[in-house]
């Protein structure tokens, strides 16, 4: 029976509103399959929440975001606040310092005794212990344990949890401010890439033929230029800064997404349900975005999740070759590359940013894995 919405039979039109319940609001399970009749996304979300690793990684990501927003406000130091007299001071953390870890001391090696005894160089009380005395090139030298907080004259009760950098700035504050900036760069560039890539890939994949050839070759030309060249060009033209970095991350970054989307189209556009929709006269726009695209959502979300940490990663490479964000603004990459240059003398300057970027990466990757499983249509409805 074909029913016209405007000419409903009387008995249907008279049905009371209460009888209509949205499927997902219905509390009971489907009687046959014992599965809740949820929407696809509800179901995926529920399965995501069942996965302990995914939940943990979501918590970690949220925690880092919270720290990135909070720490720069409450650390007591500004992220550009300098004190060059207190430069390169090692970490000192209350409680831990009692255990001999992070107690603000450093072993200085190969110092001449006259310098050690010179109180204008090493203030009284700064040299805790002379560990070893020996001769190099016929001259006397010694190794000593020095309390760098006394050495630099840090006021009593002042702590630098992660130490300070080459201008005496608090690394903890800078690290979390840097996380803020790095995440912002990553999110903006990834979302831009996603949008461009999906639209471009959809058009190429859906229409095929000449359109596909032209679009694929355009992407090929762009991809043929090494990304570092494109990046440097942007830096030279626009000056370094957040905008140039985001632009350079997007200029070729969308191509992968576009390829993925295109491949998904080739996989699904021949399916019967698409044919059915098309023969019903569904416009191309709806076919693309309503009927085919949702199939590609799983891989796309996974890819996007992995793209966030790789954007942070790319940014740190740019910082290493001197094309990072404009100083004095910090980013994880900037901190890592400036830490790497003094890795031997002040390892803590690399340690903390490296830990943070790793945790962030692990969390995002695990989350991506979890999402992949959750969004996998073949797993749908499985409770265990």
């Amino acid at each position: 029976m074909i029913v016209d919405r405007d000419h409903l039979p009387q008995e249907l039109a008279d049905l009371p509103e209460e009888l209509f319940v949205r499927v997902k609001d219905r509390p009971e399970m489907d009687q046959v399959s014992k599965v809740r009749a949820d929407s696809f996304y509800m179901d995926a979300f529920r399965r995501l929440m069942k996965n302990r690793v995914s939940v943990l990684s979501i918590c970690v990501v949220l925690l880092i975001i919270a720290l990135a927003l909070l720490v720069p406000q409450i650390s007591g130091y500004g992220y550009t606040e300098q004190n060059v007299k207190l430069k390169n001071i090692p970490p000192r953390i209350p409680v831990l310092e009692k255990l001999g870890i992070a107690d603000g001391t450093r072993t200085v090696i190969g110092v001449k005794p006259s310098a050690l005894n010179n109180t204008s160089r090493y203030p009284e009380g700064s040299v805790l212990k002379v560990l070893r005395t020996y001769t190099v090139s016929g001259k006397e030298a010694c190794d000593a344990l020095v309390d760098m907080y006394v050495f630099a004259g840090v006021p009593e009760g002042k702590y630098y949890f992660f130490g300070t950098d080459y201008l005496g700035r608090d690394i903890m504050t800078r690290l979390f401010k840097g996380t803020q900036i790095s995440l912002l760069i990553a999110f903006i560039s990834v979302i831009t890439n996603l949008i461009i890539g999906v639209v471009y890939g959809s058009v190429a994949g859906f229409y095929g033929g000449t359109v596909d050839i032209v679009l694929s070759h355009l992407a090929e030309v762009l991809d043929g230029l090494p990304y570092i060249v494109v990046t440097i060009l942007f830096m030279l033209l626009l000056g370094s800064g957040m905008f140039s970095i985001i632009l350079s991350l997007t200029i070729t970054g969308w191509i992968g997404t576009a390829r993925l989307t295109r491949a998904q189209y080739y996989r699904f556009k021949g399916r019967e349900y698409v044919l059915a929709a098309r023969s019903l006269g569904v416009p191309d726009r709806n076919l693309i975005f309503r009927h085919i695209l949702p199939n590609a959502i799983g891989p796309l979300i996974t890819r996007t999740m992995i793209a966030v940490p790789s954007a942070i990663f790319s940014e740190s490479f740019l910082a290493y070759i001197g094309l990072g964000i404009k100083p004095p603004e910090p980013s994880i990459g900037v901190l890592l590359s400036s830490g790497q240059s003094v890795l031997l003398q002040y390892p803590y300057q690399t340690l903390f940013p490296a830990i943070l970027i790793s945790v962030l990466m692990v969390a995002f990757n695990m989350l991506a894995n979890g999402l992949r499983d959750a969004l996998d249509p073949s797993e749908r409805g499985r409770l265990q």
């Binding site: 060059v84 201008l167 004095p328």
Partner: protein, 574 residues
Amino acid sequence: MKKVWGLLLAAVLLTVLCACAQAEKVLHIYLKDDCPTMNGQTSVESSINTPMTYCGATLYRAIPTEDGMGYEFIGEIADGMPEQVDKNTWHIKIRPEACFANGEPITADTIVYSLKTGLDPKLTNAMADFISSQAINIKNAKAYSIQTEAEPVAWEDVGIRKTEDGCLEIITEDEVTQMDVCNHFTTRAMVPLYEPLYEAGMNEDRTKSDYGLTVERWMSSGPYKLTKWVYKSIQVYERNEHYWNPDLCHYDRVEVNIIPEANARMEMWERGDLDLYTPDPSALEQYIDDPRIEEIGSLTVYHIDVNDKNPDNPICSSNNYRKALYYAINRPVIAKEIFGYQEAVGTYVNNQAGIYSPSGLAYRDSAQGKEVTEMVESWGPAGYNPEMANKYLDAAYEEFGMPKDTVLTLIIGYNPNEASWKPTAEYLQEELPKVFNGRIRLKSVTYSTSTTEFKKGTDQWDLSPNDWSRTLSRTYPHAAFYYFTSGYANHPNVYVDAEFDAQYAVCDSDEVRMNYDRLLDETAKLEKIYLDKVIHIPVCQEVGYELYSDRVVLPMKQYLPVIGWGLPYGDINE
């Protein structure tokens, strides 16, 4: 069974070889970046100086004296010191035993060929002006190398030729001293070219030669010869058995590793793989109290250029504004804490200017130079005085009818790959607003190319860190300022001043240059004008630091500029 014997034999041989290798005296040094070429005429990179000391001969060479307290010039390719024939003509005898590493003799013809090629207008060598006009100006040489259509110059008119008795004759444009002539012929652009290889590497239209680009295309002539060169990895030098003075060198081999990474350099030094280590600024803190550390002098004074043509800065043309900035720079902190144990200076002429002069008195140590230093110190430590800075800023604002509490944002442009300037810029960004009570703010613009390119591209900058060493001279103190006069057409510092130019011309005139005492007076006047006009802002005098391994025996008992500790002439003591 045979195999076993073979293996044993191999093992014994290997042990013997190893033992031999250990008995060899090998000097291990390093370069941060490799030389683009061995041909000292085609590249301006100063890294070429190191290989040229070992494998390049020049007419003259500075070597340590017997007692290790000083150094002297000896004729290397030349036989004895240059002789002055008349006012502008010098004769240089060539040592009969002078030869290339393959035994072929170096004659006056070789030198004339090398100089002619160096100046060749078609080849256009980047270092041509080091041949035509460095310590001395050779007659018509510059005009020959530039060769304009309006006034073509023939090679016959250039003041370089061979005399009939096989000497080299040099005619200068103006009168010079014997020391100037010696100095002129010690640079890397003066190393003789080996004609057969040079010609073999020439292209069809004679516009370039690939001489010196690989070890096969290069002929050594110095005390050592280049035997292996893997670009960006290692240069190996071995004794040149044809060298006329075998006593000059004591190493059997010199290995120059190319180590671009600061951490790797430090590790190599800590492992004992290097005989010389120059700590990077970031590593200096760790070595500054090392009993082995040696201070060495330098010609470089770091400074900050100030733009007077920024369209966005209303007061940039004001002298008061420039002065305000001069007083606002906290040089002692920057020199010690950021550059790392450098010497803060409020003046510009370096410590070594003048040590080559007839009296050997450096300008900075002369009464005239000291007077200027004292004047600067009277303003504040190395000229840092926040009060004066504010006073001059007030005056500048008043001059342009602006309210005293105007907030001005200046642009500081710098290369973030420069290890000391980057933190300095960050420091100033934080510090200048404090000095001026928030009235001056700094915004940074970073660029990854050379300073010149940045400045040629835009006028929208106010401060730009810089350093200059190319035209500096150890003979003439005033030469430090040459780069900042309108005479140097290529300089990126767009600020020129007529009074300053005029005083520079006075210093550079023949009669003042030839009279050192006069020169000191005039240079002091020049430096005062420099300070008054704030041609740019001096920051600190570079001080180098070196560590030597204990197996090296150095021929010098004290550090001297020019020759340093005389490492190339040292020995190895196992």
